[in-house]
């Protein structure tokens, strides 16, 4: 499981920019960002190199922030790659709340799929199906507490 920041944002011009600037000024580097929105508000989900620092920075800037546990699984970068991963979970009855992907930078970087599941078996199922589930150390520096 890895730490993902979830930030509550009103739908207002400049709010997302303000959030990103606050992280930028604190030298936090984002790996992935996903916005889920309704008409009036949104939730911004972020994977970054220093989640604990990022949380403190955003809270100090007045944002409502929570940290969610999500699964990051290495996914073959080819057509149908993600479908295979999700089928493995579906066949075992594991429900996915939401998912999004990012590419590992650099040569030979693979696709990483971020999954929010509400089922303790998810990691086991993925590993049994031969996928590599990434730990915190592989994605970011686990900040000193």
């Amino acid at each position: 499981m890895i730490d993902q920041l979830s930030v509550f944002l009103e739908n207002q011009p400049g709010r997302l920019a303000h959030l990103c600037r606050a992280l930028g000024d604190a030298r936090v580097n984002m790996r992935a960002l996903m916005v889920a929105d309704t008409q009036e508000f949104g939730v911004v989900r972020i994977i970054c190199d220093r989640p604990q620092t990022a949380r403190e920075v955003l809270e100090a800037a007045g944002f409502g922030v929570s940290v969610a546990d999500v699964i990051a699984v290495e996914t073959p970068d080819r057509p149908g790659g993600l479908a295979d991963v999700l089928e493995a979970l579906g066949e075992s009855g594991v429900n996915v709340e939401y998912a999004y992907c990012f590419l590992e930078p650099g040569e030979g970087g693979s696709a990483v799929d971020v999954l929010k599941v509400d089922d303790a078996r998810a990691q086991e199922v993925l590993e049994a199906a031969g996928y590599r589930v990434l730990g915190p150390a592989e994605l970011y520096e686990p900040d000193r507490a």
Binding site: Q4, S6, V7, F8, L9, E10, A36, D37, T38, E40, F41, V43, R45, E59, G62, F63, G64, V65, S66, A68, E97, Y98, K116
Partner: protein
């Protein structure tokens, strides 16, 4: 109890004292204040009554009378005898000025000392006065009462919230006097500063100057680990100290040896029986500087019938439900902002910070309540936020019998007040024709 012989005076004796003082007042204002002479003459009433019930036949005083007589037109003594002036916050139009003689200041100090004592304070306490000092009556009113009771009194005034927290901690403050909404800002600020406000010696809050709800009290008491006491006053009548809760926390004892309280039907303006709601009206029977006869406060409350376990014989008024001029009429339904607060304080996931935004869409009035999500909420799933949104909407609709649009806004995005919280924002004239 600060003045037990007065505060527990047998009721019959109290009514006799009130009648005697009322007639003294009527003679004074008729003789010395042209406005009252004119009002009494126009109404065809004499400045003398034979029973307290006759009060209902006397003319009212309203805020506009005080505005029209700005600044000194309603003083009932020579200006040389006035030692202090205050003015009310003029949120709409002309400010109003009130003047106090030496006796008025002394009576006020006693009434505010009664207030603090009935909240549970003693000369051993350290009182931080976070009400504004200045033209507003809150700061100096609480200050004189606190000194009269013998408390160590800290005149910090309103504002500079981080310093408020530092002083609360360093001075080992035990009693905090400020507006209820400001106490929550102080608690939030303490948290930001990494100070556990619950572990401080603070044990009592004496809160007034704005309407608040029972749920908000529960929240304040829990967050600050204190007992929160509701107090009532207004500058036109005195300032803080007109009425205050005792440790029973069930209604505010009105200082009836100084004030007559009436509750009037908001339409007929005739007195209603104890227990029924209506507009609160005061007559100041001991004030010298600027006494008022039947001053219409616009506040809505009721008398709580029955005796109080604390032994005081002064009748109790319930916490203010709202003001006749705060009252919103939404699709024909009367709504007070405090009702919305009451609902919000009972829903986990939202903070008790809200604003009611009145707007206009074409010729239609629109109403939207902005509600802060609590900073402790897990924000991850849209589904949960939407469910929270639905809950807030449904609970407001159930409590108010009218449905109102709700917008969830970011934590701490609603302006915090260091004095009276601004709960209603009226944009209708700006959006006219939009």
């Amino acid at each position: 109890m600060h003045q037990p012989e007065l505060e527990t005076m047998p009721v019959e004796q109290l009514r006799e004292l009130q009648l005697e003082r009322l007639n003294g007042l009527l003679g004074r204002v008729y003789g010395r204040v042209p406005l009252y002479r004119r009002k009494f003459d126009e109404a065809g009433v004499r400045p003398h009554v034979t029973s307290l019930a006759d009060l209902a036949e006397l003319p009212f005083t309203v805020k506009d009378d005080m505005r029209a007589s700005y600044p000194y037109g309603m003083f009932a003594v020579d200006r040389r005898q006035i030692v202090r002036a205050h003015a009310s916050s003029g949120t709409t139009g002309q400010i109003t000025v009130v003047g106090y003689t030496r006796n008025d200041i002394s009576n006020w100090a006693d009434m505010m000392a009664r207030t603090l004592a009935s909240a549970g304070a003693t000369a051993d306490d350290v009182v931080q006065v976070g009400y504004g000092y200045g033209l507003f009556t809150g700061g100096l009113g609480a200050h004189y009462g606190s000194e009269r009771l013998g408390c160590l009194t800290i005149p910090i005034s309103g504002g500079n919230t981080r310093r408020q927290v530092q002083v609360l901690k360093d001075f080992e403050v035990t009693v905090l006097a400020c507006t209820p909404s400001y106490s929550l800002l102080i608690a939030e600020t303490a948290e930001e500063m990494g100070i556990d406000i619950r572990s401080l010696p603070l044990r009592l809050g004496v809160f007034g100057a704005e309407p608040w709800s029972e749920n908000m009290r529960a929240q304040i008491e829990q967050r600050l680990a204190i007992r929160a006491i509701d107090i009532y006053g207004l500058s036109e009548v005195l300032g803080p100290g007109v009425a205050a809760e005792c440790s029973e926390q069930h209604g505010m004892h009105v200082n009836e040896d100084h004030f007559l309280i009436e509750i009037l039907d908001t339409e007929t303006l005739r007195p209603v029986p104890d227990g029924e709601y209506g507009e609160v009206v005061f007559t100041t029977i001991t004030k010298e500087g600027i006494p008022v006869v039947r001053y219409r406060t616009r506040d809505i409350s009721r008398i709580i019938p029955g005796d109080c376990a604390c032994g005081r014989t002064f009748r109790r008024m319930e916490r203010i439900t709202g003001r006749t001029d705060d009252m919103l009429i939404i699709r024909g339904v009367n709504v007070f902002p405090t009702q919305i607060e009451q609902v919000l304080a009972g829903i986990p996931g939202v903070a008790p910070h809200y604003q009611v935004i009145l707007g206009k869409h074409g010729s239609m009035d629109t109403v939207e309540v902005h509600v802060e999500v609590s900073p402790d909420l897990a924000f991850d799933e849209i589904r949960e936020l939407e469910e929270l949104h639905r809950t807030v909407r449904a609970e407001i609709a159930a409590a108010l019998a009218v449905s109102i649009d709700v917008r969830l806004v970011e934590p701490r995005s609603i302006e915090r007040s260091e004095g009276k919280a601004r709960r209603v924002i009226d944009l209708r004239s700006e959006q006219e024709g939009a």
